[in-house]
C-alpha cells in the first residue's frame, strides 16, 4: 500500500495543481490578514465565522480543493489509461482505493487545515477575545482542525468515487457543492443531513459551541453529523471499491 500511496502523492503533486491549491488555500489567510491589518474592531465573531470560515473556507475552498485532488486520483488513471498497471496486480481492490483516498486526504487536508488554523489565529488576533485562542485556549483551533479533517475525508470519498464513475466528475462535484449544498440546502433544511458541509459545520459547533455558537441555528445535531460523515465516507469508499471491481478498465 505504501508504494501506491507514494505514487498517488506524486501524481497529485504536480506543479500546476499544487499552485492552484496553494492560491485557494491562501485566500482565507489573506483575508484574515487584511482584517487583522485594518484592525476592524467592529467585526463581530459571527461575521468572521459566517463569512470567512463557513462562506469561504468550508463552503467553497474546502470542496474545490478536494474536488481538484480526489476526482483526479482515479480520473487521471482512467484518462491516461494507466489504471491497468494497478488493477492487474495481486492486490485487493480496497487496497488500491485506500492509498488513493489517503493521498488526497494528506495533500488536501494538510493545506486546508493549515489555512483554516492560520486564518483563525489571524482573525482572532484582530478581534481580541473573539475566539479566545490567544488566551491559551486551543479548543477552537482543535475543533476547526477536526471539523475540517472530517469534511476533507467525506468529500474525498465522494469525489474519488465520482472520478471512477465518470469523466465528468468535476461537473458532478460542482453540482453537488454549489447546487445541492449551496442552494437547495438553503431552502430545504433537511438537506443538511445529506451534506458534507452540514456535517463539517455541525462538528465544528459540536466540538466548541462557545466559540462557534453563531452556527447554532443552522447546524444539525452533533451525533447526526458524526454519523453522517462516517456513513458517507464508508459508503462512498465501498462504492469506489465496487466500481473498481465491476468496471471495464481501459
Amino acid at each position: 500500500m505504501g508504494a501506491l500511496f507514494q505514487l498517488s502523492v506524486r501524481q497529485l503533486a504536480s506543479r500546476s495543481r499544487l499552485l492552484l491549491i496553494l492560491i485557494l488555500a491562501l485566500l482565507p489567510v489573506a483575508l484574515a490578514a487584511l482584517i487583522s491589518a485594518l484592525g476592524e474592531d467592529e467585526s463581530s465573531n459571527e461575521e468572521f465565522i459566517n463569512t470567512l470560515l463557513d462562506g469561504l473556507l468550508i463552503a467553497g475552498i474546502l470542496p474545490i480543493v478536494i474536488m481538484v485532488l480526489a476526482t483526479s486520483t482515479f480520473g487521471n488513471e482512467v484518462e491516461d489509461r494507466t489504471l491497468s498497471y494497478l488493477v492487474l496486480k495481486p492486490i485487493r481492490r480496497s487496497l488500491i482505493v485506500l492509498p488513493k483516498l489517503l493521498a488526497s486526504i494528506v495533500v488536501g487536508g494538510l493545506v486546508l487545515i493549515a489555512s483554516g488554523v492560520v486564518a483563525t489565529l489571524l482573525g482572532a488576533s484582530s478581534m481580541g477575545a473573539v475566539l479566545v485562542v490567544l488566551d491559551g485556549n486551543v479548543k477552537a483551533v482543535l475543533a476547526l482542525a477536526i471539523a475540517l479533517f472530517a469534511g476533507v475525508v467525506a468529500y474525498t470519498a465522494i469525489f474519488t468515487w465520482a472520478g471512477l464513475m465518470s469523466s465528468r466528475a468535476i461537473a458532478f462535484a460542482l453540482v453537488y457543492v454549489f447546487i445541492w449544498e449551496g442552494l437547495i440546502s438553503t431552502f430545504l433544511g433537511g438537506v443538511r443531513y445529506l451534506s458534507v458541509r452540514g456535517y463539517t459545520l455541525a462538528i465544528l459547533h459540536g466540538l466548541d459551541d462557545k466559540s462557534f455558537g453563531s452556527l447554532g441555528e443552522r447546524v444539525i445535531e452533533f451525533p447526526a453529523a458524526l454519523l453522517g460523515a462516517t456513513v458517507t465516507t464508508a459508503l462512498f469508499f465501498w462504492l469506489a471499491v465496487r466500481r473498481l471491481h465491476r468496471m471495464d478498465v481501459p
Partner: protein, 317 residues
C-alpha cells in the same frame, strides 16, 4: 473450439488460456462475437486488421473487461476479478501511457512492489537487463523514446517472472534492431515453458515468432492454428473482387492471363468481377497490369462481405 500452441499433446491438456463463447458488445456495436479458443505453451500470434477486436479480446483474457457473454479461464481459474492469479500473468497493453514522472527503474520497482517481490533489486535488475535499458534506468520515463518506453513497459510485465504473457502490439515504436532483440527474448522466454499471446496487425511481426496464430476478423475468430496452413487455406479459397477500370475489356484480357485469376466476367455497368484463389499475387499484379496497359484503376474491392476484412488485411500488408 480452436486450439493454438505447441505440440500434438496440446489439445488434450488443460489449456493455459481457455476461452469459451465470449462476446463483448458496447451498445449496438459487437466488438467480439462468440469466440472460443484455447492457447497452450508456446508463442501464439493474435492477428487481424485494426478494429478486428484483438484488443477487446485480450482485455477480456486479461480480466480487464467483463465479457458480455461466455467465460475465460487462465491456468484453470476464472480470470476476472482474481487478483491472486495476476501473480502468474503479465499483461502489456497497446496503450503506451506511463507515469512520466517516474524514472524507468522506479516504474519497474513499482510493479515489483505491487507484485510483493522481496528482495526488490534482483528481479528489477534482471527485468531491466532483459530489455537492455540498464544504462538509462535512472532517467525519467518522460524523456524516453517511444521504443524505450515500450521496452521498459515490457520489463514491468516480466519483473515477476510470469507463466503467461499477454502482449498487445508490443513492437509499436520499435526499430528493426529492437524487433530482433524482442524476438530473441520471446524465444528465450518460451524455452522456459511460458505461454505467450502476442497481438499484432502486422503479419510479418508474428510470422517470425509464432508457429500458431489466431486470426480475428470483424470480431470473430476467422481462423486458428498453424500459421502456414492458414495462409494456404486463405489462398485456396476463391475470392470475388470487383475492379472498376478506365478500359475494362483490356483489363479483363490482361487479368485472365494471370495464374492467380480463375475467371473474369464483365458486369452490365462495365465493372469486372474477378474470381481468384490467390489474392496475395493478384493484389500485387493488378497495379502492375494497369500501369503496363495505361489503364486507370478507379476501384478495387472485395464482393464477399465476410472476407472483406481479410482481403483488406492481406492487401494492406
Amino acid at each position: 473450439m480452436t486450439t493454438a500452441g505447441q505440440g500434438p499433446e496440446a489439445a488434450t491438456m488443460e489449456a493455459t488460456i481457455d476461452v469459451r463463447g465470449i462476446s463483448k458488445w458496447f451498445g449496438d456495436v459487437v466488438a467480439v462475437n462468440d469466440v472460443s479458443l484455447q492457447v497452450n505453451p508456446g508463442i501464439t500470434g493474435l492477428l487481424g486488421p485494426n478494429g478486428a477486436g484483438k484488443t477487446t479480446l485480450l482485455h477480456m483474457i486479461a480480466g480487464l473487461a467483463k465479457p458480455s457473454d461466455g467465460e475465460v479461464k487462465l491456468l484453470g481459474e476464472p480470470v476476472r476479478d482474481n487478483p491472486r492469479l495476476y501473480q502468474r500473468m503479465g499483461f502489456m497493453s497497446a496503450n503506451e501511457s506511463v507515469y512520466g514522472f517516474l524514472s524507468g527503474r522506479e516504474f519497474v520497482e513499482l510493479a515489483a512492489r505491487l507484485y510483493g517481490l522481496e528482495p526488490l533489486s534482483p528481479p528489477v535488475d534482471r527485468a531491466i537487463e532483459l530489455v537492455g535499458l540498464t544504462d538509462v534506468q535512472g532517467r525519467p520515463l518522460s524523456t524516453y523514446s517511444r521504443g524505450m518506453r515500450q521496452r521498459m513497459r515490457l520489463a514491468t510485465t516480466l519483473v515477476h517472472n510470469p507463466d503467461v504473457l499477454l502482449l498487445d502490439e508490443p513492437l509499436n515504436g520499435s526499430d528493426p534492431r529492437q524487433r530482433i532483440e524482442f524476438q530473441d527474448l520471446m524465444r528465450h522466454l518460451v524455452e522456459e515453458g511460458r505461454t505467450i499471446l502476442i497481438s499484432s496487425h502486422i503479419l510479418e511481426e508474428v510470422e517470425l515468432l509464432a508457429g500458431s496464430i489466431l486470426l480475428m476478423v470483424s470480431g470473430k475468430l476467422a481462423a486458428a492454428g498453424d500459421f502456414h496452413a492458414i495462409r494456404a487455406n486463405l489462398d485456396e479459397r476463391p475470392y470475388k473482387i470487383r475492379i472498376v477500370a478506365s478500359d475494362p475489356r483490356s483489363m479483363a484480357a490482361a487479368l485472365v492471363k494471370l495464374d492467380a485469376v480463375d475467371s473474369v466476367s464483365v458486369d452490365a455497368d462495365g465493372s469486372l468481377v474477378v474470381l481468384s484463389r490467390n489474392v496475395y499475387d493478384l493484389q500485387r499484379s493488378v497495379p502492375r497490369l494497369a500501369q503496363e496497359q495505361s489503364i486507370r484503376l478507379m476501384r478495387v474491392e472485395p464482393l464477399d462481405e465476410s472476407l472483406e476484412s481479410v482481403f483488406s488485411y492481406l492487401v494492406e500488408r
